[in-house]
């Protein structure tokens, strides 16, 4: 039980390291360096000595492997570099943006899973009845309407009916004013949860319909147990592996969706940070945010892998 866990964590760290290398190399492949890119034409006005001094300050004068390891070293110490546009440490920018995105991600996943599992179970238990049709209809809607459309419609609706206009200045943290904060995050999360819920709904429904026809489900029904016990202990439990897998995939999409939704709802999260830093050519920030997205994805997938062994005893012995 413990050894596979260690092995998984090791493989997670290896993947993370790989991502570091890839991100590093890609950004190094761009012509020029971060300094000339940020100074633009002004770079020509500086003397060689000045340029070298700046290069040294940003650490771009060293050899490539040296740069990589000093970058890695400082990152391990929580130093993500300095933003080229705001001159603030990247860790400060990320530190204020990350909680917002995390909250958004967690809330959309929770909403998506509740919607998806709820409608999926109801649909599978009443196949081709109206309950199922409602769920299927919602799924088609959630899968076919992109989140920027849902988000825009929602925000227009909120603005015209409740006179609510999102603004990054008015954003409050979860711990400053939880109630107001949840209101601010709820609609962006709802926007994202449609797509997530639709995919999870389809997976849940298909898995449960299949499991219902398996022999052990018949055994369970043959015991005369209550409907609730049958549905959750036998049907749902066995559908859980499929549902978890789909949730992991959806989490991957969610990271992309967060960028769009944060922009629409003006949430000061990582997604918005990414967009502004790309427009500003703020490479240290782009680099860090990319890494954080990748790390989030890898961590979630490792957690999902571990959850399989918890759910399914057949995967444990291996």
């Amino acid at each position: 039980m413990l050894l596979p866990l260690v092995r998984r964590l090791a493989s997670m760290l290896t993947t993370l390291f790989g991502v570091l290398v890839v991100v590093f190399v890609i950004l190094r492949l761009l012509p020029g360096n971060a300094v000339t890119a940020s100074l633009g034409v002004n770079a020509g006005l500086l003397s060689r000595a000045q340029l070298q001094a700046i290069d040294k300050f940003y650490g771009v004068g060293e050899s490539i492997p040296q740069q990589f390891f000093s970058w890695l070293w400082s990152m391990l110490h929580g130093n993500l570099g300095v933003s080229l546009s705001s001159r603030e440490p990247v860790s400060t920018l990320v530190g204020s943006a990350l909680p917002v995105t995390l909250e958004l991600a967690v809330m959309s996943m929770i909403l998506g899973i509740l919607i998806g599992v709820g409608f999926g179970m109801i649909g599978a238990l009443h196949p081709d009845r109206w309950q199922d049709d409602v769920g299927q209809g919602l799924a088609v809607f959630g899968l076919s309407v992109p989140s920027f459309v849902i988000g825009t419609v929602l925000i227009t609706y909120l603005a015209s009916i409740f006179h609510y206009f999102p603004s990054s200045l008015g954003f409050v943290g979860l711990f400053t004013n939880p109630w107001l904060n949840l209101q601010q995050v709820f609609f962006p999360a709802l926007t994202l949860s449609f797509g997530i819920g639709a995919a999870i709904m389809r997976t849940t429904r298909a898995a449960v319909l299949e499991i219902k026809n398996l022999n052990f489900s018949r055994t369970a029904r043959g015991k005369g147990m209550s409907q609730i016990a049958y549905v959750w202990r036998h049907l749902f439990l066995n559908a859980l592996v499929a549902i978890t897998t789909m949730s992991g995939i959806q989490f991957g999409y969610l990271l992309g969706g967060a960028v769009i939704v944060e922009d629409i709802f003006v949430l000061p999260g990582i997604g918005r940070l990414l967009i502004t830093s790309i427009t500003d050519r703020d490479f240290p920030v782009v680099q860090s945010v990319t890494l954080i997205f990748a790390a989030g994805f890898i961590v979630v997938n490792t957690l999902i892998d571990i959850s399989y062994t918890i759910i399914d005893p057949r995967t444990r012995s291996r």
Binding site: N215, T219, G222, G224, A229, H234, P313
Partner: protein, 326 residues
């Protein structure tokens, strides 16, 4: 008339596609008295399993459903019972051991938990259920019940799972045990042990048994009466001793002739029975056994014979056994 526990009356089970129906079980009549042991034999595909599953209303539906007939259990028609009432009956009054035990347990739950679940569903406390579970597992000859309880299905062998399934059915002390080929994965000694156990339970309770099997040896040892099924119908219903001595249907005679080491005189006559059972959805209205029957007469092609009294037995054959038995 003696008291009847289970009575199938004209049971029809089949596929329904829109308004079209194709029956597979085509009007089965079958009575089981309290404490009686009835064997059900017949070739693969003759509808034994579908008949048994209908009793508990556990048919895979869709596509299969009960199209007609009554399932009277202690006088109550289960064919029209509510799901709520069925839950009370299932596992408590009627328990079933399913064919294909390897896939009949939930792969994600401990075996002991699943056996206990059947008891708890009908009001046993957790402690009671655990004790009964352990006793039941020991009774079916599992030497280390504690270990079996803590195992997951994939950690047990086919024979062990089969015994777990039998233990699960017996643990609830049902009034009727339906066992669908319950001993196929067991070796002969354990099979004997299971049969002894069932016989033993019967001496103290009035549990009735419906035992589906391919093994006429088991039939001879365990059951009082045998029902032979062919192409979705009962073709012979006879006391066990009578069936072995004087089969009343050519198909029964063929089954007996195929037993190794039998010295039945009609063996030579019937050894040529080959071929396959008919597709139950494509019958021509005559006797379904006719294509394989060496004794067929003209009438057999036009009319399907009903169950007719033949001495102590009943058989669905137009011809008296005397006319074809040597």
């Amino acid at each position: 008339m003696t008291e009847i526990l289970l009575s199938l009356r004209g049971l029809v089970v089949g596929l329904r596609h829109g308004h079209d129906v194709s029956p597979i079980v085509r009007g089965v009549n079958l009575d089981v008295a309290p404490g009686e042991r009835v064997g059900v034999v017949g070739e693969s595909g003759s509808g034994k399993t579908l008949t048994m599953l209908s009793v508990l209303r556990l048919l895979p539906s869709p596509p299969l459903e009960i199209l007609d007939g009554e399932i009277l259990f202690a006088g109550e028609n289960l064919a029209s019972a509510s799901e709520r009432r069925l839950r009370e009956v299932r596992g408590a009054e009627i328990a079933m051991v399913y064919q294909d035990p390897m896939t009949s347990l939930n792969p994600l739950l401990h075996v002991g938990y699943q056996v206990a679940e059947a008891l708890k569903a009908h009001g046993a406390s957790t402690i009671q259920a655990r004790e009964t579970t352990r006793d039941a597992l020991r009774q079916v000859g599992l030497s280390d019940p504690e270990r079996v309880e803590r195992s997951y299905p994939h950690e047990l062998s086919g024979g062990m799972i089969q015994r777990v399934m039998i233990a699960m059915a017996l643990a609830a002390s049902p009034r009727l045990l339906i066992a669908d080929e319950p001993t196929t994965a067991l070796d002969v000694t354990i099979q004997q042990q299971i049969l002894d156990l069932v016989l033993d339970i019967q001496t103290t309770t009035s549990m009735a048994v419906l035992w589906v099997t391919h093994d006429l040896g088991v039939v001879a040892r365990l059951v009082d009466r045998v029902v032979v099924m062919y192409a979705g119908r009962v073709v012979e219903d006879a006391p066990t001793r009578e069936l072995f001595r004087h089969p009343s249907h050519p198909y029964t005679a063929a089954l007996l002739a195929s037993l190794p080491g039998t010295q039945h005189s009609h063996r030579s006559l019937l050894h040529q029975i080959g071929g396959n059972p008919p597709d139950p959805t494509r019958l021509d209205g005559g006797c379904p056994f006719r294509p394989r029957c060496p004794f067929a007469i003209d009438q057999c092609a036009h009319e399907e014979p009903p169950l007719l009294p033949r001495g102590e037995s009943r058989a669905a054959c137009w011809r008296e056994p005397d006319s074809w038995l040597p």
